[in-house]
């Protein structure tokens, strides 16, 4: 477990295009295992991941890692689209280590180990963008894993994949989590959330409305927003019912 974790999100607000995307979001996320972030579209899930990663700076509030202020941890992000450069599979993994000042031999070994872990070692010299969708996402996971992150942020990594590829990605995510990385996963796939997550953070309109063990939240959500989302109600239907 990393000494820099857990993660405290303290009153984070962020506006974009005149709209509050995050509205005083607060949550404390544990230091181990997989946390799923769920909620309807526009709830602020992906933005929350970007704020945790540092890609977005909130207008107010802050994210703290562990108890030490300013603690730095190794973070890696896997996006919905794998974002691969037009080069070989190995080059894409090596790119993540570009700032690490490694010797050539160590770089080669770490890239090979990361590719072996996701089952792509034999494709190391192939063009990355010629891989299938599932292989590309496995490559994105290898690129994230090669930096040995303390915190792995996954934004709907299986959104465009078929069930077989989804299963492969889920197995890799579990493997990385068991290897010591804290994983925060945004997903609309509630089955996947049930299979992977220990705890679930439910967001609605930029706020945390519920946070607890995955089994309990998926079976018996307490907040009306979580109940509506898990029941498959559309947000505008909830609004109409309320009015």
């Amino acid at each position: 477990m990393s000494p820099a974790l857990p993660i405290r999100i303290e009153g984070v607000s962020l506006r974009a295009d005149g709209r509050a995307v995050l509205d005083g979001l607060s949550a404390s996320i544990g230091s181990a295992g997989i946390t799923a972030v769920i909620g309807p579209n526009g709830a602020g899930k992906s933005v929350t991941l970007r704020v945790i990663d540092g890609l977005l700076v909130p207008d107010s509030g802050r994210v703290r890692f562990g108890s030490r202020p300013g603690a730095e941890i190794r973070r890696a992000f896997v996006f919905q689209k794998p974002g691969l450069i037009r080069s070989s599979v190995a080059d894409n993994v090596a790119l993540a280590l570009a700032g690490a000042r490694l010797g050539r031999a160590e770089m080669r070994d770490r890239v090979a180990e990361a590719l072996r872990r996701v089952g792509l070692l034999s494709r190391a010299r192939d063009a990355a963008r010629k891989l299938s969708g599932g292989e590309q996402q496995r490559l994105a996971l290898a690129r994230a894993a090669v930096t040995e992150p303390d915190l792995l942020l996954l934004d709907e990594p299986t959104a465009h994949l078929d069930p077989a590829a989804t299963e492969e990605i889920e197995a890799l995510v579990l493997d990385l989590s068991r290897g010591g990385a804290k994983v925060i996963l945004v997903s609309h796939n509630l089955g996947q959330v049930g299979r992977l997550a220990e705890d679930v953070l439910v967001l609605a309109a930029g706020r945390a409305v519920e946070h607890g063990p995955a089994a309990r939240i998926l079976a018996q959500p307490r907040s009306p927003e979580a109940r509506a989302y898990l029941a498959g109600e559309l947000p505008w239907m909830s609004c109409a019912a309320a009015s």
């Binding site: 990663d53 890696a76 996006f79 080069s87 993540a96 990355a128």
Partner: protein, 231 residues
């Protein structure tokens, strides 16, 4: 006219010495200018593409505007700089191929930088967030994006070469069109037409068109190959 054309074809086909010398100088000057413009324009355009500094919009607008620099004005400015009474007059570069390279470099650098900025900005829209999440510094991100867009950048460089090899104003003013020394295809065509030596002018025109067509075909093939191999 047909006589002139057939004479021109004969000059080209028998690899006339004058035609080859003039074409060779044109290629040397333009290739060197594009090489120099690449060293400055590609990093400048790539860094501008990913920077978010205040005044960036003005810089981009200025750079885009400079793409349309009139060649003859560039020639005039370089002439003033290199002339005996100019600040760089002591170097004695006026009416030399070096002066022509300098003028063409000034002409193509904004073109390379502006098109690089556009190409890399498009790549940044696709990959920028991923690269920022890897904690890569600005220079490394710019390099990674330029590498990703290298086949589009190759087309940019070929376009810059096309602009350089086909311009006449700048090389005429700073080179002086000295026979055997600074005479390029475009200045020679201009001069030979005025003298009435249409076969030589047409022969040089055919070579020039051939080079421009070959460059365009190479650009097209390169993109096609890149898309097939790298996706």
């Amino acid at each position: 006219m047909w006589d002139a054309l057939s004479a021109a074809l004969r000059l080209v086909l028998r690899l006339d010495g004058d035609v080859l010398a003039i074409a060779g100088l044109s290629l040397r000057v333009s290739l060197l200018a594009v090489a120099c413009g690449t060293l400055v324009g590609v990093p400048l355009g790539a860094l501008l593409a990913i920077s978010r500094m205040p005044g960036r919009g003005v810089l981009v607008a200025v750079l885009n505007g400079l793409m349309g620099l009139p060649a003859v004005v560039v020639g005039l400015v370089v002439y003033l700089l290199l002339s005996r009474s100019g600040p760089l007059g002591a170097a004695g570069l006026l009416f030399t191929p070096t002066a022509m390279v300098i003028a063409q470099t000034i002409l193509v650098t904004p073109l390379i930088a502006a098109l690089t900025r556009q190409v890399v900005e498009d790549a940044d829209r696709e990959l920028g967030e991923q690269l920022r999440s890897m904690r890569l510094g600005r220079w490394r991100r710019a390099r990674a994006l330029a590498f990703d867009a290298r086949f589009s950048l190759a087309v940019v460089l070929l376009a810059a070469f096309g602009r350089a090899v086909s311009e006449v104003g700048a090389v005429l003013v700073v080179g002086g069109n000295v026979a055997g020394h600074t005479r390029t295809m475009t200045t020679a065509i201009s001069l030979e037409t005025q003298k009435g030596d249409l076969p030589l002018a047409l022969a040089l025109g055919l070579v020039l068109i051939g080079i421009v067509l070959a460059v365009n075909a190479a650009a097209s093939l390169l993109r096609h190959h890149a898309m097939r191999v790298y996706g």
